[in-house]
Symmetry: C2
Subunit: 412 residues, 2 copies
């Protein structure tokens, strides 16, 4: 099983290696993502699954059960990556889902209801600033207005969707009736160190920390760098600098003083005109705030607003804050979590119950269907990084956990 998992993951990553110095770049709604998904389809068909593509380009690979219950038990994840990301974020969940089907088929298991492995489109927010587009569409949570969002090359999300052979106007047709699924479970790499630090084998997630995301625009005044006196400037980048430091320091402090953790990051920054001899006129900074505790996220966002006002008054650079995303954190289904824990017990793996700092497709699915999230460890907690890595042993554990869960969930 371990060799098969590595081989299939390599096939979907179009590479003989699962760690490369430059990582993997396979952004949402690009031909790179489409090519990887074509391999997913091929593997699913090799396993005898019925493959369907929905209006958003999500793939539903289904183990049909003629005459059984109609509501399927589903698992799945995604195959897109951030730029220079790793082969396991998303890929681990997809390959373990397929591996679980393979394991159950080889054991001649006969499910009483369908099993599905779903590959969602465009989970990462790196391209358009909005995450989990495919699972939003499937869960009926898609906001049509986001079709106008542009990537850094000026391509809109709608154009990107259409470029891959779909029609943005039809994306909402990917919404599935509630009765089609009984439950959904995602498997994902942890992207952190909690499992290892607690000396456990895997994680079951209680809640997913959804982000508040802000676009903060500093509008100063351009001018010649060699002639504009230092005390008469409205340098947008010089105004953004204490803001970046403030976000970092305040997030550190809020972690010190609270049991619950908070992450806040100025993750994007563009400066214009970005010319060596021109004082920066406009800086746009993207801020990503995460915690399972929504009040802590709000506290951070409020502190950012106060600091922006202070900087505005001190520098004369005007600051506008736009809320890109403000989603409450998502609690996952307790009975699914218990079923996952039971599966782990039967397979003799030690569980760590935890929260997820990152968003995943499951947070959308959980709005409609009882849902759960399994974590397997990843090396040094690294993710969104070329060194992202999970061992073949942990992938195999993921298969065993999923297979056991799917077996129990489709015999009841």
């Amino acid at each position: 099983m371990q060799n098969w998992l590595i081989e299939q993951l390599q096939r979907m990553n179009m590479s003989d290696a699962l760690v490369k110095p430059e990582g993997f770049t396979r952004e949402g709604y690009t031909s790179e993502e489409t090519n990887a998904i074509a391999v997913f389809k091929a593997i699913a068909e090799e396993l005898g699954l019925a493959v369907a593509e929905d209006a958003a380009g999500n793939i539903i690979a289904r183990w049909e059960v003629p005459g059984g219950e109609s509501a399927a038990v589903a698992t799945g994840s995604h195959l897109d990556t951030v730029p220079n990301g790793g082969a396991f974020d998303g890929g681990a969940g997809v390959v373990c889902g397929l591996g679980a089907v393979k394991m159950l088929k080889e054991a001649d298991f006969e499910p009483q209801r369908p099993i599905e492995v779903i590959c969602f489109r465009s989970e990462e927010s790196s391209r358009f600033g909005v995450s989990t587009i495919g699972s939003k569409a499937m869960s009926g949570l898609l906001d049509p207005a986001i079709g106008a969002l542009e990537d850094q090359h000026g391509t809109t999300l709608a154009e990107a969707v259409n470029s891959q052979g779909f029609d943005w106007q039809n994306l909402s047709k990917a919404k599935r009736p509630k009765e089609q699924l009984k439950s959904f479970v995602e498997l994902h790499i942890e992207q952190g160190m909690h499992i290892i630090e607690h000396k456990k084998n895997y994680g079951i997630v209680n809640g997913v920390a959804c982000p508040i995301r802000l676009a903060v625009t500093f509008s100063g005044k351009a001018g010649h760098t060699g002639t504009t006196p230092m005390d008469r400037r409205q340098d947008a980048l010089a105004a953004a600098a204490p803001f970046i430091s403030f976000v970092q320091e305040t997030a550190l402090q809020l972690n010190d003083s609270n049991g619950k953790s908070l992450m806040a990051t100025v993750s994007t920054l563009t400066s214009a005109p970005n010319s060596m001899n021109v004082i920066p006129q406009t800086v746009t900074a993207g801020v990503d705030i995460r915690s399972v505790d929504d009040s802590l996220k709000k506290k951070m966002a409020d502190a950012i607003r106060c600091e922006a006002e202070r900087i505005e008054q001190a520098t004369g650079v005007s600051i506008a804050i736009e809320v890109l995303v403000d989603n409450p954190s998502v609690l996952l289904d307790r009975s699914i979590a218990q079923e996952l824990a039971d599966a782990g017990e039967q397979e003799a793996y030690l569980v760590h119950r935890m929260d997820s700092g990152a968003g995943h497709d499951v947070m959308n699915m959980a709005q409609v269907w009882p849902s759960g999230l399994l974590f397997i460890p990843c090396k040094d907690g690294l993710s969104h990084h070329p060194d992202e890595y999970a061992t073949a042993e942990d992938l195999k554990m993921g298969v065993e956990l999923l297979a056991r869960f799917l077996m129990e969930a489709t015999t009841k």
Copy 2:
């Protein structure tokens, strides 16, 4: 004369207006620059000047004097702009040079030696990080290695030169023998407020502050913004933030404690991968340091190196500093300055003697030929900005000053 100046400046700017909300974007070695230069050629020919183009694409518009002295007295400036810059930075010097020729011709003046109006290529450093490429070529100061410098789209300087019909390999052929020119004078907008604040009409420049320019690269570690604990990060942008503040604050302090002025600006910044959900891994900041006092520039650069070491130790983000440019400041010719002052006195304009914080083509010409630099005021001191503006009256004053100087310099 005022109407003629405005009309010709509009023609060269391809616009009925000299101030536009989006400014003018005409970068070095682009077809936009080439088109503006074609208009310069046409106007020069309308004035009866002999027009020649050198290997670098500089235009030499020459008032031939058959039988007179051979060494010409030259004036000139450039027509390229920074992105979203103004119509006067460079353009003022070019149009006033042409205007002076027109004035002298209309007065039936008969020079004893040739007069030249030169339009230099690619003066601004905004595209390739290196300034005054055309005048470097003419003065024999061109470093062939800079042909490999890339603009933000990955086009090299050599490719850009070739795209405009020149051959980078031949650029050094633009070097002129010393005996071809007697002197060079540039007229430029001040890009500052000193003339107005001293209640004078125009400026004569003693020295040009050439920059030290640094590329500072912060190498941290990428990671997921939602799962990487705040106290285990090597966030390149969070490390760059105190650096930006340091440059700003130190430059302010060095101005407080010194009679001579210093400007230091973090003028460019790029962050990678620049994704909303990834911790910044690599930040590159461009620092522009200017003063007529070379020791003050060195003091600032040394302080930056110390601060980089401090940040490196405090954050674990490694910092590399590359010196892009380190040119000593240029003192201009004292007797040319006196001749310019004499011209101003004859025309009854009040002069302010000053230094230039910005580099200009004259700083290269001054390495070979006795050279001078005249400033005319510009509105609010603004330059490299769409609101850049100089009045028709001040342009006309520029013509009168240049015409008087050229008259005296070509009768001796």
